[in-house]
């Protein structure tokens, strides 16, 4: 049955409309949950607020379980979904840069746009910086970055396959690890907030 658009169940227009509606819902919820507040994201690094970590971790696991079960029961064809190739070196460097951006700017790319819309000047500067970065990368790609971009190619690899275990076992391990991490960070959060007067 799914994915709807790649299998031609829905057309271009409806695809755009659904994307638009999901985007509205996503932005609304990010703002409602307070993710446009820079202290929320920085809190992960300082140890006083782990909501962002919990939300994104549990979102990834929910998606993994949902996709796996839907694929198993024939509701979605996982092979027809977008599945990028892995280049581990640029991914590692990019991850480092993202983390640096999180801790200094207090935004992730999506929350920066939400925050900019709510009128936060620092978020607007953040978005402007991101745009400059995008264009700067695009215009210097061939001369400077192409080699780095293509280094560490692993092809279209699934982490469970790469580890030599089944998808279901990997999902189970990931979920158990996540549950332990959630429990651990709640203890850290309790200790940190007890010793200081951090305010959002």
């Amino acid at each position: 049955m799914g994915p709807l658009f790649p299998l031609g169940v829905i057309g271009d227009e409806l695809n755009m409309l659904i994307g638009f509606l999901i985007g509205i819902g996503f932005g609304f919820l990010l703002e409602a949950a307070g993710f446009t507040n820079t202290r929320k994201l920085a809190g992960v690094f300082y140890g006083y607020d782990f909501v962002v970590l919990k939300v994104f971790f549990s979102a990834a696991i929910t998606a993994a379980i949902g996709l796996y079960l839907m694929n198993h029961y024939g509701l979605i064809d996982i092979d027809a979904t977008f599945y990028p190739k892995t280049f581990w070196i640029p991914t590692l460097i990019g991850g480092g840069i993202m983390a640096f951006g999180f801790i200094t700017g207090g935004f992730c790319p999506v929350t920066s746009i939400c925050a900019a819309v709510t009128g936060k000047i620092d978020a607007m500067i953040f978005v402007l910086g991101a745009i400059i970065g995008i264009f700067g990368y695009a215009f210097t790609y061939e001369s400077m970055w192409e080699e780095l971009r293509n280094s560490g190619a692993m092809g279209r690899v699934n982490i469970a396959e790469w580890m030599g275990i089944s998808d279901g076992l990997f999902i189970l391990i990931l979920t158990v690890v996540a549950a332990i991490i959630f429990f651990a960070v709640s203890i850290i959060q309790k200790k940190v907030t007890a010793n200081s007067d951090y305010q959002l």
């Binding site: 919990k54 549990s58 696991i61 929910t62 993994a64 379980i65 949902g66 796996y68 079960l69 198993h72 089944s166 998808d167 279901g168 076992l169 999902i171 189970l172 990931l174 979920t175 158990v176 996540a178 549950a179 959630f182 429990f183 709640s186």
Partner: protein, 207 residues
Amino acid sequence: MKKFDVLYVSILLVGAFWAFIVNSANDEPIDRVPPCDLLDIVSQTDKFITTDELARRLMSDDPTLVLVDLRSKTEYDKYSLSGAINIPLENILNDEFADVINQDIQTVVFYGNSSDLSAKAWMLTKRLGYSHSFILLGGLNRWVETILRPRPLKETASRAEFELHSFRKAASSFFGGGSSLGESTSIKRIAAPIKRKKKSAAGGGCD
């Protein structure tokens, strides 16, 4: 952790267990023979069935025999063994034929023009753990050579070879090989001059 957090994490854990169980249940049907066991199976010598044995079983109307013609449809239509099912090699792993090929009691005999196609089919089915697969040794070429048009024997052949040969001639007429006539004439041709020689030799001895 708040109550809601605990609830959500528990739901995720249940989902993950579900995915894991579904996954392990899913693994069973594609349970392939492990490489070590496959090596043992490949090196076994009873994977072949000879044309003589096949002929014997066909002539006795063996109900446990399943003949699978692995050649193309056109070749199959042109000539095939009686009662053979046509499953071209590229379709051998189709689910619709799994019931035919995966047998516990019946003997499945693969054949092509030589042993080439059948060896491939045998390998594929053995890997899936199908136990009763056999290769017709030499394929249809050998079938024609030995059963339909058996070659005449030399006079020095052993008794066992003569017995086999007479069986093959009988099989040839059973399967409509039609070569028994040509063969008998060839025997006469060979036999006739030898007899003459013997006669003259005997005469010389008497003189």
